[in-house]
């Protein structure tokens, strides 16, 4: 029985955890920029794998995990963005270079959740086929969604006034 076709079993959890923990953590640091938070979300990601493993055979564990992790991280960014927007109305503006990175995260948070996840997966180098399987979309639609996601992301990041 090969790993590729085996249904997910609890016994696989340790193996997957060992193999993918660092990749998941790195992906979360990349999105959130916060190691402590990435620690927490890594645990939460694997917690989901443990508690509610996918019913289907897990052919690409990393794609599945990074999809879950991207979702968790984007949710977090949305919450942070709302909270920070409330606070910055009262506070002074942060330093410019910090602002720059925050703008990227704010733009990610502004995307439709699935669009954001797909954009992150693509940026992390997953193929259309892997992305399609991970988010449950027809492979033929991936390009269309990515085109839309990147357009909206750019608008959110650079401002809607940007002309193509």
């Amino acid at each position: 029985m090969s790993d590729d076709s085996a249904p997910f079993a609890r016994g696989d959890f340790d193996r997957i955890y060992r193999a993918e923990r660092l990749a998941v953590h790195r992906h979360l640091v990349f999105i959130t920029g916060d190691r402590a938070l990435a620690d927490d979300l890594t645990q939460e990601t694997f917690g989901k794998l443990y508690d509610r493993p996918p019913a289907e055979p897990l052919r690409n564990a990393r794609a599945w995990l990074l999809t879950v992790a991207s979702n968790l991280a984007c949710n977090h960014l949305r919450g942070e963005t709302r909270r920070r927007d409330r606070e910055t109305r009262a506070d002074s503006a942060p330093a410019a270079d910090v602002d720059d990175v925050l703008d990227v995260r704010r733009a990610l948070a502004a995307l439709d959740p699935r669009d954001g996840v797909m954009l992150l997966l693509r940026h992390s180098g997953f193929s259309y086929a892997e992305i399609a399987e991970a988010v449950g979309l027809a492979p033929a639609s991936v390009g269309t969604v990515l085109a839309r996601a990147q357009r909206r992301f750019r608008e959110a990041y650079e401002g809607p006034g940007v002309r193509e």
Partner: protein, 363 residues
């Protein structure tokens, strides 16, 4: 038939088969609307990638929560990146074949040649990361690097002198007239790493992998053997024929090459698609990787000898022009490996002509 955005994006992302790719290219060359869409999407794609790349910068330690800690300044972070880039080149681009005889040193030497697809955007992403590092370049902090042997400049020689200087037959292409021949003497590039400092830099860059402690103070060598280069100027564009023994990477006794490879593969600034391609090279200790920089590269057989032929496509040419370089109308490179010698024909000739020239070298 015009193409929808999804197909055009798949084209830009390199997700299409060669047939689909060619169909889109020839259509876009004729259809102004699709040409424009392609340009727009390429701009959107590049802008999104550049913005997301910002998250991969050292600035990523800036927490999204209100500042709890300030990022530490490493004056040598740029060196770290440069040193890492050199190591990547050393072990992947130059490299590889473990000699069966070498029990003390692991020696790598070329047996196969394979193309690796690195787009101009990939390069830009890496150089953005590298240029964003701040502070002074202080190699001493991370280790030492020095060159041994041979003067740096190639010197003009006669064919007889070139032949006397190398231990393999110098083979030149036929029908191009008399070449100017230069000889670059063999050189050995040596590196000695201070592992603690390097690892600290790696961690700062966001890498989870670090060099094993026992690498500290050991000497790594990249041996570049003598290179014979013939230049033919009688053509409209110059044509070059180069040949050399395979370069070698030598790592110290007791160092596990696969462990080093793991560190290098996990350098945070390697674009993921490049990393995946590197990771997929099975016989990595004997495979010379030839970057195609977004051009079209394919594996061919010339009289039964496996070779790689590359010719930049219009997109690669455009990208090169944008970064200040210019490619002549036909630029073809053919690289092959035979009897332990790596040979290449490169220059402003058509693919057919380049292959013909390569063939004439094999006789």
């Amino acid at each position: 038939m015009c193409y929808d955005e999804g197909s055009l994006m798949a084209y830009l992302d390199g997700e299409l088969t060669t047939e689909e790719r060619v169909a889109i290219e020839s259509h876009a060359a004729r259809c102004a609307e699709c040409g424009r869409s392609l340009e727009t999407l390429a701009a959107i794609r590049a802008a999104a990638a550049e913005a997301l790349d910002r998250l991969r910068q050292p600035a990523e330690v800036v927490p999204i929560r209100p500042a709890r800690r300030t990022p530490r300044r490493l004056p040598w972070q740029r060196v770290a990146a440069a040193a890492a880039a050199v190591l990547v080149l050393a072990s992947f681009a130059l490299a590889p074949v473990r000699s069966a005889a070498a029990s003390f040193l692991r020696i790598f030497r070329v047996q196969h040649i394979q193309t690796i697809s690195i787009s101009p955007e990939d390069l830009q992403a890496v150089s953005r990361t590298l240029s964003r590092g701040s502070g002074h370049v202080d190699l001493k902090t991370l280790g030492e690097a020095w060159v041994e042997g041979g003067s740096r400049a190639a010197k003009p020689v006669t064919l007889a002198q070139a032949q006397a200087a190398v231990d393999f037959p110098v083979k030149l292409p036929a029908g191009l007239g008399d070449p100017r021949i230069t000889l670059q003497a063999a050189q050995t590039f040596k590196f000695k790493l201070k592992v603690n400092a390097v690892n600290e830099a790696l961690r700062y860059y966001g890498s989870d992998r670090t060099f094993p402690r026992d690498v500290d103070g050991k000497v790594f060598e990249v041996r570049v053997p003598a290179i014979v280069l013939a230049q033919y100027d009688a053509q409209k564009q110059p044509v070059f024929a180069g040949q050399a023994r395979s370069p070698e990477l030598v790592v110290p006794d007791g160092v596990d090459p696969s462990q080093l490879r793991d560190v290098l593969l996990n350098l945070p600034f390697l674009p993921r698609n490049v990393r995946d391609q590197l990771a997929a090279v099975d016989d990595w200790q004997s495979t010379l990787l030839v970057p195609d920089f977004g051009g079209k590269a394919r594996d061919i057989q010339i009289d039964g000898v496996p070779a790689v032929v590359m010719s930049p496509d219009s997109a690669a040419r455009k990208a090169r022009a944008e970064v200040g370089g210019d490619l002549p109308e036909h630029t073809t490179t053919v690289v092959w490996n035979g009897d332990g010698v790596v040979r290449a024909i490169a220059g402003g000739v058509t693919e057919e002509k380049a292959i013909e020239l390569a063939k004439s070298c094999m006789r």
